[in-house]
């Protein structure tokens, strides 16, 4: 009898002390990036959005290209609620996230009946419809100009929004930490494993008796809520929301972030968002067309050379270093 108990069993599905490192990094970032706090806050917002996309595409294997709709819902929802008087940022964020999750719950059962090209088509189409509707309804959304000068009250009643972005940074960092912990809990659970099972072999999961549609719907709702949260945080930290929050481009850029960092990995989303946003920030002087070209080439390369993004490549390298030529 071979005893396989011990640390090797289901290693990925138990908490490890290394998990604290990113959180420490976030705390450290406050000091290290003190001149770029506003930018760093926007990176963290994107990281949350990337996380939400990773859950539904990377883990559950549901290929949707319209996730920006939930981000936009959260962003506009937050802005409109603030303009209507709901100015407390935390309450505002929670409500916006719940709004997005609610829409996800309504749309999920319909969308999740589809797979492959049909799902891509429908999500793209719906995203296009929502974008156009938001554009036309400029009495509500401000159209091309968006909603400006949205005021939020101080965080926890004490910390005012400062120009240097220090409040924004800490505020978003706390939410990101919660999001990361939340995601970690979900994907280390039996439910998280089941999602991967659905991704790998849906037919087998059905035969195992798994309630696949319900599982996917739950994942979709969580993902929608997270995306909505990210949108709300964007509005709160920028005091502004525009149609960009609903654009299909946003979904595709987030997908590029995942591809860069490593799809289907928690930290892949984080790493991808940080690297993507940073490189973009430091090359923003150039013609945006060059950036688009670079992203396009990146996507082609990631698929062509299939290493699972940055983290995947690091993993492969680690394996190579650990057992060079060793037979197993």
């Amino acid at each position: 009898m071979i005893d396989i108990r011990g640390s090797a069993a289901l290693d990925r599905y138990r908490p490890r002390w290394t998990e604290a490192l990113p959180l420490i990094a976030m705390a450290g970032g406050y000091v290290v990036f003190s001149n770029y706090l506003v930018f760093a806050a926007s990176v963290m917002v994107m990281a949350i959005f990337a996380l939400s996309l990773d859950l539904i595409i990377g883990f559950a294997g549901v290929l949707t290209l319209g996730h920006a709709v939930f981000y936009g819902l959260g962003a506009y929802g937050s802005g409109l609620m603030a303009l209507a008087g709901l100015k407390d940022p935390i309450v505002n964020s929670v409500c916006a996230a719940l709004l997005a999750a609610g829409v996800g719950f309504a749309a999920g059962p319909l969308l999740l009946r589809l797979r492959g090209i049909r799902l891509i088509m429908v999500t793209l189409g719906l995203a296009a419809i929502v974008f156009e509707a938001a554009n036309k309804a400029d009495w509500l959304t401000g159209g091309h100009d968006g909603l400006q000068n949205i005021e939020f009250s101080a965080v926890l009643g004490r910390f005012d929004w400062s120009l240097d972005g220090s409040t924004a940074y800490v505020y978003v960092a706390c939410w990101l930490a919660l999001a990361v912990i939340g995601m970690r809990i979900v994907i280390s659970s039996s439910f998280g494993m089941a999602l991967q099972g659905v991704r790998e072999n849906e037919a087998r999961m059905l035969v195992l008796g798994a309630p696949v549609q319900a599982q996917l719907t739950l994942a979709f709702v969580i993902s929608a809520g997270l995306a909505g949260l990210a949108g709300a945080l964007a509005t709160e930290t920028n005091a502004f929301v525009s149609l960009d929050a609903l654009s299909i481009d946003l979904s595709i850029y987030a997908l590029a972030m995942l591809a860069l960092g490593g799809i289907g990995r928690l930290y892949g989303a984080l790493v991808g968002a940080v690297v993507y946003m940073s490189v973009q920030y430091f090359t923003q002087e150039l013609n945006p067309a060059y950036w688009m070209f670079a992203i396009g080439a990146l996507l082609i390369a990631v698929v062509r050379f299939g290493r699972g993004g940055l983290l995947g490549s690091l993993d492969a390298l680690w394996m190579r270093l650990q057992a060079p030529g060793a037979a197993r």
Binding site: G116, I120, A133, K136, A289, L299, V303
Partner: protein, 293 residues
């Protein structure tokens, strides 16, 4: 009764011309998906490049419209052959996600390239003078361009239909789409079949881009902008054959035109909503009979 008939004629002609244009652009993708199950989200890029190349040849080489168009079509078909070797061949056995990522990447590269060469704005369609103006058909006058488009469109569609249904190449293609392993088993070289039909599909898309630029104006984001429309046609086409694709494309063209005509404000996206609803409801395609389980 006059305005009603006039309206019907308008929707009819304009809807059909739009539909046939969509057919020419989309048929390549319908076959690609049916034959190799590759989701090429960059298919619209062929149309865009075809349109831009036509204009570029007219402007820089001074070629007349027809010749420029022909050169563009051949050029894009050649490009497609290269692209297939370099990029798409890799996608045959790739997962859905990988196909989406890679073809989105191709889209971005093409869009970036077009922006850098032609600028980010809508490019004015350079239609030859003979195609401008309108023709009076008695009960209504129509733009000459539209009539031209409809004629060319149906002529090409007829050729494609003929090629698909009546030639031996078409027969082999139909067999391979229906059951690839079986086709291979009886000796059909599906790899070569695919390369050829991929090139033809790309060329057709380029033709659509060049001929349709009065209707679907050229801009760098063209591939992404019309992606949804093309995908709608593909999704409604069901089994990947020319007949159902023709039906689907004409249907989309007519419904879209009718919608915009009857409800100018919301017509555009009512259509999207309707078509999406259709796809969710009729998962197998519009003209495919529901098979009993």
């Amino acid at each position: 009764m006059q305005p009603f008939l006039s309206g019907v004629a308008f929707v009819g002609l304009y809807g059909l011309s739009y539909g046939i244009l969509l057919f020419i652009i989309s048929i390549g993708l319908v076959i690609t998906m049916g034959l190799m199950r590759v989701m090429n989200l960059a298919h619209g890029a062929f149309a865009a490049i075809g349109g831009y190349a036509t204009i570029a040849l007219m402007k820089s080489a001074g070629l007349p419209y027809g010749l420029a168009l022909a050169c563009a079509v051949v050029g894009v078909a050649a490009l497609a052959v290269l692209l297939e070797r370099a990029v798409f061949a890799y996608l045959y056995s790739a997962s859905d996600l990988d196909q989406v990522l890679m073809t989105l990447g191709v889209n971005f590269v093409v869009i970036a390239f077009l922006t850098l060469v032609f600028g980010p704005n809508l490019y004015p369609a350079a239609l030859p003078p003979s195609l401008r103006g309108s023709v009076d058909l008695g009960f209504r006058s129509f733009e000459t361009y539209r009539l031209f488009l409809t004629t060319i469109g149906f002529a090409v569609a007829a050729l494609v239909y003929f090629g698909f249904e009546r030639t031996s190449f078409g027969a082999r293609l139909r067999a391979a789409v229906d059951n690839r392993t079986m086709a291979q088993a009886i000796g059909i070289d599906t790899g070569r079949l695919f390369s050829i039909s991929f090139a033809i599909g790309a060329g057709l898309a380029a033709l659509g881009g060049g001929v349709g630029m009065g209707l679907m104006p050229l801009e760098p984001f063209y591939p992404l902008k019309y992606l949804v429309l093309v995908l709608i046609v593909v999704s409604l086409s069901g089994t990947g054959d020319v007949r159902s694709a023709l039906g689907a494309a004409l249907f989309v063209g007519l419904v879209d035109t009718a919608g915009r005509f009857l409800l100018p404000e919301v017509g555009g996206f009512l259509i999207y909503a309707l078509l999406i609803g259709l796809i969710v409801w009729r998962r197998d395609g519009l003209f495919v009979p529901r098979t009993a389980r």
